[in-house]
Amino acid sequence: MAITKPKAKPSQTAESFISGAPDSEAQPKGVRKGNKRQISLTITPALLQRVDELAAELGQSRAAIINMAIYRAVEHGLIKE
């Protein structure tokens, strides 16, 4: 019996291959870090202090707090209703 090689599953489509080029507009911004993007953020020392205090209180990292705050703002709006 001849041995047939399994056909490799296409890991991506032609569309995703084309849009993966560096000049594609669909490219997310920031520097790739694993599945995430690294961006730079400037912040006042006072606000940073409060972020860090909240992080310590909740036992979370600074990045986690910032992410959670952004998530809430994006999902539920920036201004309280």
């Binding site: 991506q12 291959f17 084309i18 993966g20």
Partner: protein, 213 residues
């Protein structure tokens, strides 16, 4: 047949080769469509000069630097042409990738210089990626801007280096560094049309055309 002349490295003579091949095919009586996938639009400019000078046969030429547009346009119009030659710009771009998805043959020109040989592996990984989304892409590397003369050590070594990149098949039809190529394509002509004819240049182009089509 759809041929892409592509290399993520610039300055290897992609546009010169694409324009030359398109005209060579037209002179062989084929209906040719030349596609300029480079934002610089050099191929399109060369063909405009040809058209302004009223040189026959005229070459149909379009510029699509945007990959998705290039893909949809070629898919729509491909049945109308015998041969489509795509000149993809000298960097990784959506146009180059779209061309890789569409083409029967990828022609990778490279000069017998270290930098060019190193760049082959970048192109090879792009070929691998393209092959993961499609079947049957033939990819060939050909020496362009090769040293004149039959016994150049650099030509031989560069050709041998292709063996290290299994994605490419080496075409033993080198195009040598001749003024005729630059002068002819600058005027929107092929070396076969430029008077006086550089017979060696014309023979090299014919050999490459024969090896590809």
């Amino acid at each position: 047949m759809i041929i892409t002349v592509g290399n993520t490295k610039g300055g290897v003579g992609k546009t010169t080769l694409a324009v030359s091949l398109a005209i060579a095919r037209a002179l062989s009586g084929r209906d040719v469509w030349l596609i300029d996938g480079d934002r610089q639009g050099t191929a399109q400019t060369a063909i405009s000069i040809r058209a302004e000078n009223g040189v026959s046969p005229g070459i149909a030429c379009a510029t699509y630097p945007d990959g998705p547009t290039l893909r949809s346009q070629v898919q729509q119009q491909m049945a109308k042409f015998d041969d489509i030659i795509i000149d993809a710009g000298g960097r990784d771009s959506t146009a180059l990738r779209a061309a890789l998805v569409l083409s029967d043959v990828l022609l990778v020109p490279f000069a017998p210089r270290s930098y060019d040989v190193w760049a082959l592996s970048d192109m090879a990984s792009l070929v691998d990626e393209a092959r993961s989304v499609r079947d049957g892409l033939r990819s060939v590397a050909v020496l362009n801007l090769a040293d004149p003369g039959g016994n150049s050590v650099d030509n031989d070594e560069a050709a041998a280096a292709v063996a290290d990149v299994p994605q490419f098949e080496y075409l033993a039809t080198p195009i040598r560094r001749r003024k005729a190529f630059a002068n002819a394509t600058g005027a929107g002509l092929s070396v076969q049309e430029m008077k006086p004819v550089d017979k060696k240049a014309a023979a090299e182009l014919r050999a490459l055309e024969k090896a590809l089509f």
